[in-house]
């Protein structure tokens, strides 16, 4: 049972909005009604005079910009000169209660001067006089990246076949059940505390210090247990900074809890991505090279966007052997809520494209899709062409597991029309190898305090967002010290009390916090052992720890209780505390940008989806998902299975219904570009009725870089689901839906085209024209490269894109 289970089933867990402090005031944010406009004037006089209102703040009160990435400090707690999407906050009212604050908000007069709205990626690529962000590279282009790992064009020319396919992945959002909430409380001495539903208290801490121009040492950020995150609470948010400033100005606690609509405006969700793959394949099914292009709709702000952009390309080579690889990636700004990291961060979109393309390749080469993949799985400890170091890899075992458990060989191409199976794979990082900001310090720190009572307290900045990280922390410490869960108290996510952990993102916590925790616990164990060894008159390495006893391993009857052992140790060493630190191995690739993609180890997943397609309505029902996940080592089987099933759930939702889109209001209303579905009713997700049965197989092949061999499970299992479903639909009814969500309308359209003898496919026809920079050339390790960029223009793209005769339009 996880350590937080009983407080959660009894309703005792305190989430941020459950905190109520004496004299607490309430904050509401007035949000822009214009998608893109200059703020000419804000008159708050009537609101300030409203009874019950204590303070009204506007952009003028926040002169300093902030943002999660050092290269895109483009946000303000409240917009000062300009609004960039419907929902951008322009003013804050702090009042005796929410109702009064809402009344006062209606009394704020904002004069806007509208600017042209950028509603799509295609509009963002066009020349403009009024770019959303003044640091855009060109037009509304945030960033373009071009890399070539070896001469990919040559690899494509020499291939027996070149497959060219375009795909579209609509954006979607986290929709964590908990609405973001924050409470700030200023101390009379100038310090301030913020309780918040954040996945990354350390990054909030840094943003508060910057935006409020005060020493970080005087700010305390406490991450409350998150009511779900999925990446949606990894950015520092404007409302967190606003309530902190307000509390300091008023000398009273100030709370905000966003409405569900405001949560949709905060967004930071999955980017919409259009992509194009050109992949060279030989007749034996081996890949010769791949050229991938991606175009991301980033919304109005930078957020994690540059990292997201890299991630739409970086991880393709860690699954299959790929001698040469090049990519071009482009992120644009549009007048929509900003996109950022959602479960899988930038990797589900290209994984969707790649795994469907492999299905098409198998079909064309008359190979079994599982056999095709098994023939090219990366070997253990491979160094990919883009210099990512694969550790253990259980991908082949995963594929074999789902093939066997699903009875693939008797189902694929053999089920009656309308029923089908599809296979896909994926891989994900167990933590990003580099921090958000460059530094040489640990990514995770753990402290352990023990005393004569026998009590053990473990401190770590990690944040439990529901994934069970507190439980992992406690169980690793109990494992090393041979004590029980109830004996260890954990204190997490508190910047005053706990050492820094970078946060709950990139599936990093079990691995990084876990390794730091084991180091701290082993140091505590060794201190105790050194004292007990003297008492028992045995060598230190003969002291064992189990079942709350510390004993002579040669003769366990010679023992003492754990508490007695700690007393022994306190007598010998004085006050007892230990620390542990973890920093990931250095990236092997030393080219600029080589910091995105490296990880201490990668998890691998394979899935088979079984679907029923109603050819009359186009409705797709996913009846069963078989999934195998290579986790290295499972630390808590119930929780691991829960993470896998949760990933499948979100993947099925993304495949079939979840989408974040915008629409223009009718001109007679305002013509404004607005969010299409900012409610839990309009934003479609699976209910219990829609969820297919999931059969989970956990593949264990301990990785030396993981704590007791463990790898991640929070994000990887989502990745193969969308393409497995798309491939199953092809198997069922012979149509290709090369985009998500796969709605009944799209399936029907493809079926109609099939019946009419036309291309039985729905998906983007072409990839937009983009002026790419000169690609950074990096020679792959297999060709003698040293991991550095070279300026040799070894790419033939400028000459001839590819030999048209060889293109197999799939």
């Amino acid at each position: 049972m996880r350590v937080d289970a009983l407080s959660k089933v009894t309703g005792q867990t305190l989430f941020a909005d459950d905190i109520r402090l004496p004299r607490m005031l309430h904050c509401k944010l007035l949000r822009s009604t214009k998608p893109h406009a200059l703020i000419e004037n804000i008159d708050v006089s009537r609101a300030s005079a409203h009874p019950g209102v204590h303070l009204v703040l506007t952009g003028k009160d926040f002169p300093v910009e902030y943002g999660i990435l050092p290269v895109s400090q483009d946000e303000r707690p409240l917009c000062r000169d300009k609004v960039r999407f419907v929902g951008d906050p322009v003013a804050a009212v702090i009042a005796c209660d929410e109702q009064t604050a809402a009344e006062a908000m209606a009394l704020i007069d904002v004069d806007y001067r509208s600017l042209p709205t950028i509603a799509s990626v295609n509009e963002a690529l066009l020349p403009t006089d009024s770019p959303l962000q003044d640091y855009a590279e060109e037009n509304n282009i945030h960033r373009r990246l071009s890399y070539s790992f070896g001469d990919t064009e040559e690899a494509l020319e020499q291939a027996d076949h070149v497959f060219e396919d375009t795909f579209f992945y609509e954006g979607n959002t986290h929709m964590a059940m908990e609405q973001h909430a924050s409470v700030a409380s200023a101390d009379p001495d100038g310090r301030v505390t913020l309780w918040s539903s954040t996945q990354c208290p350390h990054y909030v801490h840094r943003a508060l210090a910057k935006a409020l121009e005060m020493p970080a040492a005087h700010i305390r950020v406490i991450a409350c247990p998150n009511g779900g995150g999925f990446g949606g609470k990894t950015d520092p948010f404007n409302h967190e900074i606003v309530v902190t400033r307000a509390s300091m100005l008023l000398g009273r606690p100030v709370k905000i809890c966003l409405t569900r609509e405001e949560v949709f405006f905060c967004h930071r969700g999955r980017h919409q991505v259009t992509m194009k793959f050109r992949t060279g394949v030989n007749n034996d099914g081996k890949l010769t090279g791949m050229h991938l292009q991606t175009l991301l709709d980033g919304g109005a702000y930078g957020s994690y966007g540059i990292a997201s952009t890299f991630y739409t390309t970086a991880l393709q080579p860690v699954t299959y052997q790929l001698p040469r690889y090049s990519f071009d990636a482009c992120r644009v700004f549009t007048n929509k809520p900003p996109c950022g990291p959602k479960r899988g961060h930038g990797t589900p979109q290209p994984r969707f494209g790649q795994e469907i393309q492999l299905d098409k390749i198998a079909e064309k080469l008359d190979m079994d899709p599982a056999e095709l993949r098994l023939g090219m799985v990366q070997p253990p400890n491979a160094l990919t062409c883009n210099y990512l170091k694969v550790g253990t890899i259980g991908l082949a075992d995963c594929i074999e597991s789902v093939v066997e458990k699903s009875d693939w060989n008797n189902k694929h191409h053999q089920l009656p029309s309308g029923r089908g199976v599809g296979l896909a794979c994926g891989a994900y990082m167990s933590g990003a190898g580099t921090a958000i900001y460059w530094n040489k310090m640990p990514h995770s720190g753990v402290q352990i305090k023990l005393d004569r009572s026998g009590a053990v307290t473990v401190y770590c900045g990690a944040t439990d967002v529901g994934q069970g990280s507190d439980d992992v922390l406690v169980s690793l410490v109990t494992e090393v010290l041979g004590i029980e869960t109830i004996d260890v108290k954990c204190v997490t996510g508190d910047t005053d009390l706990t050492p820094v952990d970078l946060g709950s993102y990139s599936s990093r916590v079990t691995l990084m916090m876990g390794n730091a925790a084991i180091q701290a616990a082993e140091r505590a164990r060794d201190l105790i052992a050194s004292a007990v060894a003297i008492r028992l008159e045995v060598p230190e390495d003969h002291v064992g720890f189990a079942e709350r006893l510390v004993f002579d391993v040669e003769d366990p009857s010679r023992n003492m209780t754990f508490q007695e052992a700690v007393v022994c140790a306190e007598e010998k060493h004085g006050t007892m505390a230990t620390t542990g630190s973890y920093a990931p191995p250095k990236a092997v690739g030393r080219y600029p940008g080589g910091g995105v993609g490296p990880s201490p180890t990668y998890s691998y997943t394979a899935a088979v989806a079984e679907v029923d397609v109603d050819e009359k309505t186009g409705v797709v029902e996913v009846s069963r998902i078989y999934i195998a996940h290579d986790i290295g080592r499972s630390l808590n089987p119930v929780q691991v299975e829960g993470q896998v099933i949760g990933g499948v759930y979100m993947g099925v939702g993304e495949a079939l219904m979840e989408e974040t889109t915008s629409r223009r209001l009718p001109p007679k209303l305002s013509d404004a570009l607005v969010h299409d579905s900012p409610s839990m009713l309009d934003y479609k997700t699976l209910t219990m009725h829609d969820m297919p049965e999931v059969l989970v197989d956990i593949i264990e092949d301990p990785d030396p870089n993981g704590p007791f061999g463990a790898k991640e499970v929070g994000q990887g299992p989502l990745l193969p689901i969308m393409p497995a479903i798309a491939n199953a639909i092809f198997d069922a009814v012979g149509v290709r839906i090369d985009e998500v969500p796969i709605t009944p309308a799209k399936v029907l359209k493809a079926l109609e085209q099939k019946a009419a003898g036309r291309d039985p496919r729905v998906g983007p026809k072409k990839f937009p024209e983009i002026k790419w920079p000169q690609a950074m050339f990096v020679l792959p390790p297999d060709e003698g490269g040293d991991g550095k960029a070279s300026n040799k223009p070894q790419r033939k793209r400028a000459a001839k894109m590819h030999n048209m005769d060889k293109v197999t339009e799939s």
Partner: protein, 170 residues
């Protein structure tokens, strides 16, 4: 501006009498959380869309964000705080804790209330009955499967205990 008159309410929550003086426009959810400090009941939308605020009114699951507190006078209101009796956890609470029925725990109080109502009317529910009873409770973490399994485990435990006590009676 004329503020509405406050109402004096006598509510029965978890078998305890609770007197509150509130704005008559307040929902049951708001009164539970803000006036009675029963913050175990959560909210995910305050629009009746997510099920997180489910409580039992006279044994029936009700979305407390859609009911006014003044409508609940004379009823028997049960919240998550009343589910364990004198420190004894309900079998559903134990089953959810042991079988992965919760992750972030935010939807959990609402799910548990819906499940409790189900098991009180259907001692051995089928999977379709469980799905139907809990389909109004959204969960973003678990993918529902371990929730369903937890309800089944709890039903088995309750039935076994009932059978035993029936056996002891006879």
């Amino acid at each position: 501006m004329n503020k509405p008159q406050h109402s004096h309410l006598l509510l029965k929550v978890n078998n305890e009498a609770a007197r509150v003086t509130v704005d008559p426009g307040k929902t049951l959810l708001e009164v539970l959380r803000e006036d009675l400090s029963l913050t175990g009941t959560k909210h995910g939308c305050e629009l009746g869309e997510c099920g997180a605020c489910t409580v039992l009114v006279d044994g029936k699951p009700v979305l407390s964000c859609l009911v006014l507190a003044i409508e609940c006078e004379g009823t028997n209101i049960q919240t998550i705080e009343g589910m364990a009796v004198k420190g004894q956890l309900h079998p559903l609470q134990i089953a959810f804790a042991e079988h992965g029925g919760l992750q972030c725990g935010y939807c959990t109080p609402g799910v548990l209330m819906s499940a409790k109502a189900l098991l009180e009317s259907e001692r051995d529910p089928t999977r379709p009955q469980i799905r139907e009873a809990l389909s109004g409770n959204l969960c973003r973490c678990t993918g529902y499967q371990q929730i369903i399994e937890s309800v089944e485990h709890a039903a088995a435990v309750i039935n076994e205990a009932d059978d035993k006590s029936a056996g002891a009676d006879s």
